[in-house]
Structure formats: structure tokens, C-alpha cells
């Protein structure tokens, strides 16, 4: 029994809350300067000068911000990070429009991914447990790209563009998925991609309303060649939902900061609506033939991986605050599609939740199996066990950035929201 005047026993902060606060702190610390003014040296004159500068800055900031409630870029960035870790069920409609930017003006480098391949419009549902679905709109459209994953059962279902079997369209049902295999979820990747685009500098922020929702509009212009491999063109306008931090719209300008070349939008956003588990399985169209596939990945403790794959997996020491959320190994893993090489002795790890994830994957195979060869740009890794290895980096709109390398018969893949993060993570790999 607790004595009358004894403090109650200590309690632990729940693990998920501690993780949430740690992530929050990491975001906050990115924008908090160190206290450098030594005590006792702050003279009256310095104070007056500082006060005058402060006043001038405040007046200038008020003039630029266009409203007392307009957030700073740092606040919006923090909210974006919030939006990437889905805390409530969210659903909405996603669509992309594009138009040809024409030839680049003389002297301007053509950006690598100025015009994203527009995906079909879709209705998406995201669940905090990692379940998701993305169904092509309209729901009776004959040309479909449906995908859904139920985290409770670990089953992914797909329909559309999978070919035919015995003259009937294929409905794919897969299990034991690769933790590093991030499905094409444009609405979720938007946030990660935008976060990468905004990592290098502060955008201009203004208050807007979009689809009846209060939002912030961020505008960031890029000088040609300024950002990593010119993935973003000349200008980006990003609209971020104030309540959830979800990216509602991205407008890309390839060469001319006044002429848009693609608009990706989320509309009809609904938050916290009850959702049945059935929402995370693609409905099987009548006449479709079910093809079952096992990717072969088994969830094991990191320490037990070597027994299956024959080597200690390479894992990052730097994940920018994301905890390990999934780890699995496969003696051999095949894709359900022809032409994709078999991956042997594969180990994959995923860090973080929602769209703000980092993945690291290693497997044995010939260097020619690196899909990035020919597509990415090259650089030399300078740190870690892969130091001195030639690596490939790729950036793609609507997807995370990737780094791939080949060393001692091992193929290494890293993905992250930005190319800078992916490179830093690749250089922090250690045998786990």
C-alpha cells in the first residue's frame, strides 16, 4: 500500500507517445537556433541594437505574411510531417492534370521529371494501422489500377493492368510482402515528395481556402540546377491542409514560373469517418481469375536474419528519427510479374509510419539487376561500409527518392522522402 505522503509510483510514457514526441522534437530542433549569447556580455548598446533589429524584422514579417494567423514555413513543415504519419482514417479523391511545358528556354537544363505520368483519378482511404486502398474513379471505369492492403491480415489485393489468364483478367492476391516495397499511392507520396522539395529552403506562405478547407499555400521557386537533380522544375505551389497537414494540391511549373505544367489535387477529404475492413480489399470483378502470390518475406528479429540470408543485414544508423516499423527476410523472393529478376537472400527494413518512411533493402544478384542503372545519376558514397562505391540516385515526382548501389555481390536500395536523406541514410549503413 502506498503510504499517505508517498508520491505515487513512477509511470512510463506510453511507447507510441514517446515516439510521437521524439519525432516532434526532431522537427522542432531543425528550426531552433542554439543559444549563443554568453551571459554577462550583453551590453545595453547591444540590447538596443538587437531591439531595433527585432522591431524592423517584426514589421517586415508582418508586411510579408499577410495576416496575423499565417504560419511560418517552419510551422507548415512541422504540420506536413504530422500529416505524413496518419493518425486517423482519411479518405479523399486524387487526380492529376498535366500539360506539355514545351522546349526549355535556351540555357535552361531540362528537368528530369517535369511532367509526371498522370495516374488515373482515384478514391483513397488510409488507416492509421497501415491499411490503405486506392480505387480508380469512376468506380465502373473499365481501365482500372486498383490496389488495397489490409494490415490486419497482411493481404494486398490488386486489379487492373495485370494481364490475362485463360482469357480472363487477373485479380492478384499477395501475402508476405516486402517491407521495402512501397505501393504506388500517389496521394500519400505527395506529402513525402513535397517534404523533400521543401527541405532545402523556406517557401513563401499564405492563407487560402481550398474545397472549403482552411489551408496554407507555400510557394517555392528553384533556380535551374539548384536542387538535387532538378526534380522540381522552376517553381512549386503546395497547398497544405491546416487541420491534418495533408498535402491537398501541388502545382508544378517546369521552366516558366508563371505557366503550370502539372496539378495534383486531393479533394473531398474526410477525416475520422468509420471505415469497415472490407474497404481495404479490392472488390473482385466477376469474371476475374484470382492469382495468389507469396513474396516469401518472413518477419524475424534482426538478430535472427543471418540464419536465413547468410549475412548480417545492412541497416542504417541514421533514419532522421524514424523508428524501425517492419523488418523481414526472404531466402528467395519473386515478383508476380514476368521479367523481374528473382531476389535472393533479401533483407528489408522499413522505418517510420504513413508516408514518411525510409526503406533499406539488400539482396544478392548481379549488378545488372539494379533497375536504376541508366535512369539515375551517379555519385560516390563516401562513408560507411559502402564508401567508395558508385551509387545511383533517382528522384521521381509522386514517389520517394532512391539510392542504389552494388558492392561485393550485394545490391543495396534505400528510399527516403528526399535524395539528401536517402544518401545520408545509405552512408550510415552498418551490419546489423
Amino acid at each position: 500500500m502506498t503510504p499517505k505522503y508517498a508520491p505515487p509510483p513512477m509511470r512510463e510514457l506510453p511507447l507510441d507517445r514517446r515516439d510521437q514526441l521524439r519525432r516532434y522534437l526532431l522537427v522542432e530542433t531543425a528550426h531552433e537556433p542554439a543559444l549563443t549569447c554568453p551571459r554577462g556580455r550583453f551590453t545595453r548598446r547591444t540590447a538596443l541594437v538587437a531591439a531595433a533589429i527585432g522591431l524592423a524584422v517584426a514589421v517586415a514579417a508582418l508586411a510579408l505574411r499577410g495576416g496575423a494567423d499565417t504560419a511560418s514555413a517552419a510551422e507548415v513543415r512541422a504540420k506536413l510531417a504530422d500529416g505524413l504519419t496518419i493518425d486517423e482514417t482519411m479518405s479523399g479523391e486524387f487526380s492529376v492534370r498535366t500539360r506539355d511545358p514545351g522546349p526549355p528556354p535556351p540555357g535552361t537544363r531540362r528537368c528530369r521529371d517535369c511532367i509526371p505520368q498522370p495516374p488515373l483519378p482515384s478514391r483513397f482511404v488510409l488507416h492509421p494501422d497501415g491499411s490503405y486502398s486506392s480505387l480508380t474513379l469512376p468506380l465502373d471505369a473499365p481501365n482500372r489500377r486498383d490496389v488495397a492492403y489490409d494490415a490486419a491480415t497482411g493481404v494486398e489485393t490488386r486489379f487492373g493492368a495485370l494481364g490475362e489468364l485463360r482469357g480472363r483478367p487477373i485479380y492478384l492476391r499477395t501475402v508476405n510482402l516486402d517491407p521495402a516495397l512501397l505501393p504506388h499511392r500517389p496521394e500519400a507520396h505527395l506529402g513525402a515528395w513535397v517534404q523533400g522539395a521543401l527541405a532545402a529552403g523556406d517557401p513563401q506562405v499564405e492563407d487560402v481556402t481550398i474545397g472549403g478547407r482552411a489551408a496554407w499555400k507555400l510557394t517555392r521557386t528553384f533556380r535551374p540546377g539548384e536542387h538535387f537533380y532538378d526534380a522540381y522544375g522552376a517553381r512549386l505551389d503546395v497547398v497544405v491542409d491546416r487541420e491534418t497537414g495533408l498535402v491537398l494540391e501541388v502545382v508544378q511549373y517546369a521552366f516558366d514560373t508563371e505557366r503550370w505544367t502539372s496539378i495534383a489535387s486531393v479533394r473531398d477529404l474526410r477525416i475520422g469517418e468509420p471505415t469497415s475492413r472490407g474497404a481495404f480489399t479490392v472488390p473482385r470483378p466477376s469474371g476475374a481469375v484470382v492469382v495468389a502470390h507469396d513474396y516469401g518475406f518472413r518477419r524475424v528479429p534482426v538478430g535472427a536474419a543471418e540464419a536465413t540470408i547468410g549475412y548480417r543485414p545492412l541497416l542504417p544508423t541514421k533514419t532522421f528519427g524514424r523508428p524501425l516499423s517492419d523488418f523481414a527476410v526472404a531466402e528467395s523472393s519473386r515478383f508476380p510479374f514476368p521479367g523481374v529478376p528473382v531476389r535472393r537472400n533479401a533483407a528489408s527494413a522499413r522505418y517510420g509510419r504513413g508516408a514518411s518512411v525510409v526503406t533499406v533493402s539488400t539482396y544478392r544478384g548481379p549488378v545488372g539487376d539494379l533497375p536504376e542503372i541508366g535512369g539515375g545519376r551517379t555519385f560516390d558514397l563516401t562513408r560507411g561500409p559502402l564508401a567508395g562505391t558508385l551509387a545511383y540516385v533517382t528522384t521521381t515526382p509522386l514517389g520517394p527518392a532512391g539510392v542504389a548501389a552494388f558492392a561485393d555481390g550485394l545490391l543495396v536500395h534505400v528510399t527516403a522522402p528526399s535524395a539528401e536523406e536517402a544518401i545520408a541514410i545509405a552512408e550510415s549503413l552498418r551490419a546489423g
Binding site: 505522503y5 508517498a6 509510483p9 513512477m10 514517446r18 514526441l21 521524439r22 522534437l25 530542433t29 493518425d87
Partner: protein
């Protein structure tokens, strides 16, 4: 290999936020419980935990003796608790961005336990409030969290002799006010977090 606090702090001083995150993971529970025991509310303790670490990051250029990171964090927590209004004001913008706990239903038993904790702690704090604030601080650090005199001196930035005399006065006064008060020291010492790994 896990880095010790001193090695992590050296990295933090160079601006390594990851290392700071590791320190947070390592010491969050200690600081969380310390804040709770100084104010008697779990929810506020959680807010103050964030403020303590934001403040620690702001002061990351501070050179610390080896093994004194946690005592120094206790010191920041003491100041934050003492000057809650000012500390919250300094980090007001960051606190507005503090994420809400995920809406997972808390078991009724756990919610009740927390309310019981708060009632119990307020009773203890009411008695402790009979002491001068400086003695309360020394008592909380040494008696409830098992800090050595040396560590408490680092936390409060006072000489060891002052720690010793304040603690002695606090104990004597508490025994006078409530003879049963001393029981909790042994009762809780076994639960006290380790000061240094």
C-alpha cells in the same frame, strides 16, 4: 554499440539532432516523472517534458562534465517547473504544434490509476509546499529521484554543501510536519531511474 550520454552530448553540441533524439528516448521517462512529481498532473507533465527538451536543445552549446547530462536535464526541468509561464511562453509556438496523443481508448483502469496518482501527488505536494521552494527542489531530486549530492549540485548549480544542508533541513522539517513522510524515500528509491548508464 550504444553510445553513452557524454558521447551523445558531444554530438548534440555539433548539432546532431539524431543523438538528441536518443537522449530523449533514454531520459524521457525520468524527466516526465520528475515533472509530474513537481506539479501533480500527468497531462501538464507531458507538455513540460517537451519544453524541457526544447530548452535543452536551445542550450546545446553547453559543455557538460561526463555523466552529468541527466542531472543537467533535471536542472532544466526544475527551472521549467519553477518558471512555467515564462518557459511555456518562450516555446509557445512549438507547444502549439505539439501533437495530440493518438486517440486510442485508454483502459478505464489506467485512467483511474492516473487520477488516483494525481490526487495522491497533490496531497504530497501540499505538504511539501510547507518548505521553502529551494528545499523542495533539493528534496525532490535527492529523496524521490535518488540523485547524489554531487548530481543535485550540478542540477541546481549550487555548491554540494548547500545541497547537503538544504536536504537536511527539508528532512527535519518534514519529519516535524508529518512523522510518516520519511517512509516513501526507501519505498521509491528502488523505482528511481538510474542517474547515469
Amino acid at each position: 554499440m550504444e553510445l553513452d550520454d557524454a558521447a551523445l552530448w558531444r554530438r548534440v553540441r555539433l548539432g546532431d539532432a539524431e543523438a538528441f533524439g536518443v537522449l530523449f528516448e533514454r531520459h524521457a521517462n525520468a524527466i516526465y516523472n520528475y515533472c509530474f512529481r513537481r506539479i501533480g498532473e500527468w497531462a501538464t507533465a507531458e507538455d513540460l517534458l517537451s519544453v524541457v527538451f526544447l530548452e535543452a536543445w536551445r542550450r546545446r552549446e553547453k559543455e557538460l562534465p561526463p555523466d552529468k547530462v541527466l542531472p543537467w536535464l533535471y536542472g532544466i526541468a526544475t527551472n521549467v517547473v519553477r518558471n512555467q509561464r515564462r518557459a511555456r511562453g518562450r516555446h509557445a509556438a512549438a507547444l502549439r504544434r505539439l501533437p495530440k496523443p493518438r486517440a486510442e481508448p485508454e483502459p478505464a483502469e489506467s485512467a483511474d490509476d492516473r487520477m488516483d496518482d494525481e490526487r495522491q501527488m497533490k496531497r504530497v505536494l501540499a505538504l511539501l509546499a510547507e518548505l521553502p521552494r529551494r528545499e523542495q527542489e533539493v528534496f525532490a531530486l535527492c529523496a524521490w529521484f535518488g540523485l547524489s549530492y554531487d548530481d543535485a549540485a550540478v542540477a541546481l548549480q549550487i555548491p554540494i554543501g548547500t545541497v547537503r544542508s538544504r536536504l537536511s533541513r527539508a528532512r527535519a522539517r518534514l519529519r516535524e510536519l508529518e512523522p510518516g513522510f520519511g517512509h516513501e524515500e526507501e519505498h521509491h528509491r528502488e523505482h528511481a531511474p538510474k542517474v547515469a548508464e
